[in-house]
């Protein structure tokens, strides 16, 4: 459903992402982890078609992001860590805007459901400037989920959410995956990654140092056996660690 082959992104002389390859099938949740500056957001932006990779191939739902970007984008939703919203569209107008862009057929039925699900019903006429940080994040999530994407890219999706919102977001991610959505979740919250993700992709300085299920990663790095995910993460991303995908 989401695949990247030899994905590389350069900014001038700086290599933000170097030759990473992976595949996320329907129903899988890939945890994208790595220290600050490892290339997680750049990877997600390449996958979302926001920036073009310097080399490599990306496909979403069988559509190549370079050759058929419109159809590839139609299949996915990207929810960034900082909600990007239009200042002068209300909550409801944001959803109608997305509905038109993605051709959501039964928007009048789905819109109240979505607003209820994310506790935005009371705020449907509010502009983003009138919303709290958490509410704006919820609106960004609603925009991402409205068209039932078959590929979901989440960059720190819990930032700013209250405890109830966090729980609901976790449930939503799992439910979407169970319905066949391929999910990539980038987060520094390792307990969240451990709880939700079926696979891990660990990045360090733009390169993949581990990829696979937890068992596959341990099998490739036997010295990490018995360690917590946090310790595994710290070991894999420490300076002395040279690694490759599991």
């Amino acid at each position: 459903m989401i695949s990247a082959a030899n994905l590389t992104k350069l900014y001038g002389d700086f290599t933000a992402v170097r030759g990473i390859s992976f595949h996320v099938s329907p129903g899988e949740i890939l945890g994208l982890v790595g220290p600050n500056g490892a290339g997680k957001t750049t990877t997600l932006r390449c996958l979302a078609g926001i920036i073009s990779p310097t080399s490599g191939k990306i496909a979403v739902g069988g559509h190549d992001m370079h050759d058929d970007p419109i159809e590839a984008k139609r299949a996915l939703a990207f929810i960034p860590d900082e909600p990007h919203l239009f200042d002068y569209l209300s909550v409801e107008e944001h959803l109608r805007f997305i509905a038109r862009l993605y051709g959501v057929p039964d928007v009048d039925r789905r819109l109240p459901e979505m607003l209820n699900e994310l506790e935005l019903s009371d705020k449907r006429q509010s502009l983003p400037g009138e919303l709290s940080r958490g509410m704006r994040q919820k609106l960004a999530i609603a925009c991402g989920l409205l068209h039932d994407p078959s590929a979901l890219l989440l960059d720190e999706p819990l930032t700013g959410l209250d405890p109830a919102g966090i729980r609901r977001m976790r449930e939503t991610i799992v439910a979407r995956a169970e319905r066949g959505t391929a999910v990539i979740l980038s987060s520094h919250l390792l307990n969240l990654v451990e709880e939700l993700c079926t696979k891990l992709l660990v990045l360090r300085q733009g390169a993949c140092v581990a990829f696979g299920t937890m068992d596959e990663i341990i099998a490739a790095h036997p010295e990490l056996a018995g360690l917590s995910l946090e310790d595994v993460f710290l070991s894999l991303t420490s300076e002395g660690m040279e690694g490759a995908g599991a």
């Binding site: 932006r45 078609g49 419109i70 984008k73 002068y88 209300s90 038109r100 862009l101 009138e130």
Partner: protein, 565 residues
């Protein structure tokens, strides 16, 4: 070193270093050069500067500026003080207000910071006035200007503090500030009394020149002069024409400055609460000004109470047009158009027997206004890529081709602007039908009416496309969305942008105009028909060029990455 002085010094130093580094880039260096030349031409090269300065330093100007000062300051008391006089940055609120600093120290910082603006203002005016009137050394004039601007600044800050005290303490606050209120009330009564007594001289003035001469005479005679006296003390050193005049004026002015300092520093206001509120207000104003939503600022953001529905079926690019139309509806400020409208009305009155022929007056004003909108409209309405480039990550993730995005963005500004211009042309047409002396014969009138929509649509589309093209191709040269740059190089960028804008339009119009005129001439029809055909052919060709440019910009937008924008 005192922490506040350290903060001010290091901030200024780092700002200068940042600006200096930026100027090492060729584009900023070029912009700085152009901006510098522009300022130099304004301050140093004006051939009529001496005459202008003599006029500015004349006695009527002195009286009028004194009155203007009274009105400005009285406005603070009648309509509420400008609370942003108390504003700090958000970082200052977070760090300084939580620090063990006294209220006096914070007020002192505010006054110290204001001195930068005061000194720059004084410097500019010294240049403007330096050859005006009889000789007065520039340092003396500068000192007079510094006292005037400093006193004004102190008064503004004091008024904000006093009104904050009113809000915080209610009647107790009013009682505490009773002397301030009483003084201004008395001044207002004296000035008004003078104006009322002599109102016939103003009402029956023969012209605008006589009106202002009479007004200055009234203000300089009793009882108005008594009310203006304290303000006159403040401005007198600036308007002194000789050194003895200045020497006589400077001590009372300094006394006024000291009185204001004492007043501000002793005002017992809930400074912190007011300053935090003012800081939030200032942040909102900066946001509004940066996005050019307003010259003034609405007190609260407009509610999204009503909308027009968007069907979920159809071409997705329409959603972008819909979004931008909502943005326009919620952000456009009619006051933006007051200046252009006033110019159009003035021009209409000037060419229609001072408004004697009402129909001709309306017609001329409407056409002039449409013309002003055509030339400057693209700078007044910016709900296109110039606004949306800062939402580039969001735009690029949408399942819409880049070409369609550019098309929708251009249409978002071009369509409403063209519609407004066409509406005013129609108003002019209807008005001219009622005029006793039409400048055109009926067939020419009809030809202009028929060709106006074609011209308006194609020209607006071309103008907006050029602006959007600059935003896509040269984002560093454009003011995008909320981003704003200040300084001489920003001024230079604006000048260069304007030149590039009209130069590109001129180039784009060459072929369409030529082909339009040749093809229309080949028909050997009457002049009205020739003009209409030439305009329509040129409009069609210009639209074709614009369409090609939009497609090109679409490909360019596809290559732009958010980090570049």
């Amino acid at each position: 070193m005192n922490a506040l002085i350290y903060l001010t010094w290091t901030s200024a130093r780092n700002r200068f270093i940042t600006a200096f580094r930026r100027v090492q880039s060729p584009r900023y260096a070029a912009a700085l050069l152009v901006g510098g030349v522009y300022i130099w031409s304004l301050l140093f090269r004006s051939p009529n500067r001496g005459a202008a300065a003599s006029f500015l330093l004349g006695r009527p100007s002195e009286a009028l500026i004194t009155l203007l000062m009274v009105l400005t300051l009285a406005g603070s008391w009648v309509f509420g003080a400008d609370v942003t006089a108390l504003a700090f940055t958000q970082a200052e609120v977070s760090m300084l207000f939580a620090a063990p600093l006294s209220r006096l120290q914070l007020v002192g910082l505010k006054l110290f910071r204001a001195q930068v603006a005061v000194l720059i203002n004084a410097l500019i005016w010294v240049f403007v006035l330096r050859r005006g009137g009889p000789y007065l050394p520039s340092p003396l004039r500068a000192f007079g200007l510094w006292i005037m601007f400093s006193t004004l600044n102190l008064h503004r800050l004091g008024a904000a503090l006093v009104q904050s005290s009113w809000r915080q303490h209610g009647r107790v606050g009013v009682r505490k500030n009773r002397w301030s209120i009483a003084i201004f009330a008395a001044i207002g009564v004296l000035i008004l009394e003078g104006l009322v007594i002599n109102r016939d001289r103003l009402i029956h003035a023969g012209g605008i020149g006589e009106f202002f001469t009479n007004l200055s005479d009234i203000l300089l005679s009793s009882p108005s002069v008594v009310g203006l006296w304290p303000f006159h003390l403040v401005v007198a050193p600036t308007f002194a024409k000789t050194i003895p005049d200045w020497e006589r004026a400077i001590l009372p002015a300094m006394l006024m400055l000291m009185l204001h300092s004492w007043w501000v520093l002793r005002t017992d206001a809930a400074f912190e609460d007011a300053a935090i509120e003012a800081s939030a207000e200032r942040a909102r104003r900066i946001e509004a000004i940066r996005s050019r939503r307003a010259w003034g600022v609405p007190s609260k953001p407009r509610k999204a109470s009503s909308t027009f529905r968007l069907s979920s079926a159809g071409h997705p690019a329409i959603a972008i047009l819909w979004k931008n139309m909502l943005c326009l509806r919620r952000t456009v400020q009619l006051r933006l158009f007051v200046g252009p409208l006033a110019m159009a009305v003035a021009f209409g009155a000037a060419v229609s027997s001072a408004g004697g022929d009402v129909a001709a007056f309306i017609s001329t004003s409407a056409v002039t206004f449409a013309g002003i909108l055509l030339v400057f409209g693209s700078r007044l309405i910016r709900n296109d890529l110039r606004h949306d480039m800062l939402h580039l990550p969001l735009l690029k993730a949408l399942p819409v081709s880049s070409g369609d995005i550019v098309m929708a963005e251009v249409a978002s500004s071009a369509l409403p602007m063209a519609a407004a211009q066409i509406a005013f042309v129609v108003i002019a047409y209807v008005a001219i039908l009622m005029s006793t002396r039409s400048p055109f014969d009926p067939r020419m009138r009809d030809a202009l009416l028929v060709s106006a929509p074609f011209a308006a649509l194609s020209l607006n589309a071309a103008l907006i496309t050029i602006q959007n093209g600059m935003a896509v191709l040269f984002p560093a040269w454009m003011r995008l969305g909320t981003g704003v740059s200040t300084g001489v190089e920003a001024l230079g960028q604006n000048v260069l942008g304007m030149v590039a804008h009209f130069f590109t339009l001129g180039i784009a119009m060459l072929v369409p105009l030529l082909v339009g005129w040749i093809s229309a001439s080949a028909l050997h029809q009457s002049r009205p028909v020739t003009i209409a055909v030439a305009t329509i052919v040129a409009a069609v060709l210009l639209s074709a060029e614009t369409y090609a440019a939009i497609r090109f910009l679409g490909r360019a937008l596809g290559r732009v990455e958010p980090l570049q924008a």
